[in-house]
């Protein structure tokens, strides 16, 4: 029972982090670790991501 709840909670957390893009930072850290780069700061990273969104606004429908 507890195991099932934990799994469900992990699933929800995973979904929300993916959905909001928070998980991109983890991916980036993993990527850097794999290739031996020194990662940039979180501030720098998120800044680049939001600035990319500037040129690419998702249209919202009616």
């Amino acid at each position: 029972m507890t195991a099932a709840l934990t799994r469900a909670w992990e699933g929800v957390r995973w979904y929300l982090r993916e959905f909001t893009g928070e998980a991109r930072w983890d991916d980036y850290l993993a990527h850097c670790a794999e290739h031996g780069h020194a990662p940039m700061s979180r501030y720098e990273f998120e800044r680049q991501r939001t600035d990319a969104a500037e040129r690419n606004p998702g249209a919202r429908c009616c």
Partner: protein
């Protein structure tokens, strides 16, 4: 064998639900019949028809790499988990349209609307979304306009571009009009919606400076503040601030225009992105809440199955007969051209596997349709006298509870002035009479369903909660739409004036934003001050525009099917296209040429012009100035209507030429990208099949741990 039994059972349950709806006459029936009729139909449509389209007609290929896989750059081309992408896509297509359209269409009864929402989505709306997404995916995520230019030709492309831009302006104006009607003279609403701006700004700064990237934290705080903003509206209303926040429609227009302009030139991280998080979470939360509440509350339908207005076309909410106007008014819940803009471009660049277009394109649209059915139910469970008192223009209701009660009694409802006064008191609004646009009526319906489901009253809270949630995502659509419109304008003008097309050139941004905001702002102002009622006059224009855009998208899909040598399957998009063209062209014809002054814009203008020449003032206009206004507005609406229809016909005619050429040649070359073998192992549907599970396990064994990018939480 098991699957035959399950699907047989789904079919039987669906058939029983539809049967109950069809034979119910006179007695009241539960709204759940409607809900389950829809759900069973969706399940069957998804299981059988969408599979046929995806694998037989389009031939989605699991071994062919998607643009996200081939061109992955972590920015726009980004392999995304199908469930996450479903959420993103749904959040992008769902908006106020499927909520307010069905509410207005409820004047014809619950049956015509429901049938069109369900049948329309299965055979037209979801097919369009799926097919456009597939073709765009095969072309590296090209936009609808680009595909039309390249696959049909320059003339069709230019016509489509103008149509898309013009339609967008109308859509923004009508959405803004709905917000204005919901917030006018409502200090509680203005207070809570106004507070969303500082809340979003705070979240923006939080995400940029304080805790970069912690979106969930920021959104959690934002939602909590938002709920506080709704609750606190009740305290504000009776305070001295209440009067200051009681804004007229004209002031609200000004506020919205200024807001829209500022929002579209500010950096996205400051306002647009955080507001988008808020509205997305609110949207999904409310939809889930509504589905649960409907099942818990099991409300009874108050509306008739088919009202007299459907037969006679004399309804006060919008003019015109069932055919074609129910199909126009429902708009987004059954078939929405606007979705074609979202299904091409952003989403196809993120698909991991070709077959996922079925889940995301078709499935996403089914979900939107479900929202529309829920909204229709909410409008049909409230007292129908109240429904008509709220949704008929002030010219008809007279604006007071007494005159409105007399009006709805004239329509055959036994709703008294006391009932109407009690209804507005229950939600703590000064008045609910002629609060047109659909949003207030929906909010009353939602408040009723929620308080019934959760007990303990709280109607006023739920009403303003619903208003807030609708206004919030309409404003998000206005922000984003203005920005997209600005980009389109800069891109187009950039062809002749290079500098203007440079998105980093500040004066260009400001000029383009001002043009876009100016355009929708003027249409909005016209709608707000229209003596005949802006929603009554403009909503058909919005509905027809949206359906015409769908006609353009379905035309493109049909052309592509024929060009790809799939003539024998072209009916999949050609039938909904033919239906959509018949509906939109009939509606356009009636709006332009009808001799009935309540339907035809030009006849309307003529009637008022004649009266003016005779020195009379025709109700609901009260003076010559308003007469001038009616004449000007009706003429303008008529011209816009004619232009939209002509642009669509130009695209269709050009497409017909291309189709004939392609039929004769047995297919024509297209701009489809050549196939590249895929290395990704991802399931196509929501749940992986046994075969896919084996493939994933095999892949992980070969490549080693850590490569199972998204399947970590799946056993």
């Amino acid at each position: 064998m098991r699957s035959v039994l399950i699907w047989g059972a789904v079919a039987v349950v669906g058939a029983i639900c539809w049967g109950v709806l069809a034979i119910a006459r006179g007695e009241t029936i539960s709204a759940l019949w409607l809900l389950f009729a829809a759900l069973c139909s969706y399940a069957i449509g998804y299981r059988f028809y969408s599979r046929f389209i995806t694998y037989k007609v389009l031939r989605a290929d699991a071994n062919r790499a998607t643009p996200a896989e081939r061109l992955e750059n972590g920015v726009d081309f980004d392999v995304t988990d199908r469930r996450v992408l479903f959420g993103h896509h749904f959040a992008a297509i769902a908006g106020a349209g499927p909520l307010v359209g069905p509410v207005l269409a409820a004047q014809m009864g619950y049956l015509p609307g429901t049938i069109w929402i369900v049948v329309g989505v299965i055979f037209a709306g979801a097919v369009q979304d799926l097919t456009v997404m597939f073709f765009s995916m095969r072309r590296n995520g090209k936009s609808l306009g680009q595909m039309i230019r390249e696959e049909i030709g320059l003339v069709g492309g230019v016509a489509a571009l103008i149509a898309v831009f013009a339609i967008m302006i109308i859509i923004l104006a009508v959405l803004a009009l709905i917000v204005v009607n919901a917030l006018a003279e409502s200090p509680w609403g203005v207070w809570s919606i106004g507070l969303t701006i500082p809340i979003a700004l705070f979240m923006g700064v939080y995400l940029r400076r304080l805790r970069p990237g912690r979106v969930l934290e920021a959104t959690g705080i934002g939602v909590a503040l938002l709920l506080l903003a709704i609750v606190s509206g009740g305290w504000i209303e009776d305070s001295s601030l209440g009067d200051a926040l009681t804004l007229s429609k004209e002031w609200l227009v000004l506020a919205l225009v200024v807001y829209g302009f500022v929002a579209s030139v500010l950096p996205v991280w400051l306002l647009l992105t955080p507001r988008d998080y808020l509205s997305t979470f609110m949207k999904i939360g409310v939809i889930v809440l509504l589905a649960i509440s409907l099942i818990v509350a099991r409300p009874v339908l108050q509306a008739e199955a088919v009202t007299d207005f459907a037969r006679e076309g004399t309804g006060p909410v919008f003019a015109g007969s069932l055919f074609p106007f129910v199909f126009i008014t429902i708009a987004c819940g059954a078939l929405s051209g606007f979705h074609a803009l979202i299904s091409s471009g952003t989403t196809p660049k993120m698909l991991a596997k070709e077959g996922q277009v079925r889940l995301i394109g078709y499935g996403g649209m089914l979900m939107e349709s479900f929202v529309a059915v829920s909204a229709l139910i909410a409008a049909c469970v409230i007292d129908q006298g109240l429904y008509f008192a709220m949704n008929s223009p002030a010219g008809a209701t007279g604006g007071t509870v007494e005159s409105a009660a007399a009006f709805v009694q004239g329509l055959g409802f036994d709703t008294s002035a006391q009932d109407l006064a009690a209804a507005s008191a229950a939600v703590q609004e000064d008045t609910l009479i002629s609060r047109t646009g659909g949003a207030p009526a929906l909010a009353v319906g939602l408040a009723q369903v929620f308080s019934q489901a959760f007990g303990g009253g709280g109607q006023a809270f739920w009403y303003h909660f619903a208003i807030m949630f609708e206004a919030l995502f309409i404003l998000t659509a206005v922000d984003a739409g203005t920005r997209v419109g600005r980009f389109m304008l800069q891109d187009t003008v950039g062809n002749v004036w290079k500098k203007f097309g440079d998105l980093s050139w500040r004066p260009g941004n400001i000029m383009a934003s001002a043009v876009v905001v100016g355009l929708w702002g003027s249409v909005l102002y016209i709608g707000v001050t229209d003596p005949l009622g802006g929603v009554n006059q403009l909503f058909p224009l919005f509905g027809i525009a949206n359906q015409l855009l769908a006609a353009i998208a379905l035309t493109l899909c049909t052309v592509l099917l024929v060009k790809h040598g799939k003539l024998r399957y072209a009916w999949v998009t050609a039938i909904p296209l033919a239906w959509d063209l018949v509906v939109t062209m009939t509606a356009s014809w009636q709006k332009v040429f009808s001799g009935d002054p309540r339907v035809g814009y030009f006849t309307q203008a003529q009637v008022y012009r004649d009266a003016q020449n005779a020195g009379e003032v025709l109700a609901p206009a009260t003076d010559q100035g308003q007469m001038d206004q009616v004449i000007f507005n009706s003429t303008l609406n008529g011209i816009l209507q004619a232009i939209f229809a002509l642009l669509t016909l130009v695209v269709a005619a050009h497409a017909a030429v291309v189709i004939m050429r392609a039929i004769r040649a047995g297919g024509l070359p297209t701009t489809e990208e050549p196939a590249v073998p895929s290395k990704l192992v991802e399931p196509a549907g929501l749940f992986p099949t046994a075969e896919e599970k084996r493939a994933i396990a095999e892949h992980e064994r070969l490549v080693g741990a850590g490569s199972g990018r998204s399947e970590a939480e799946e056993q």
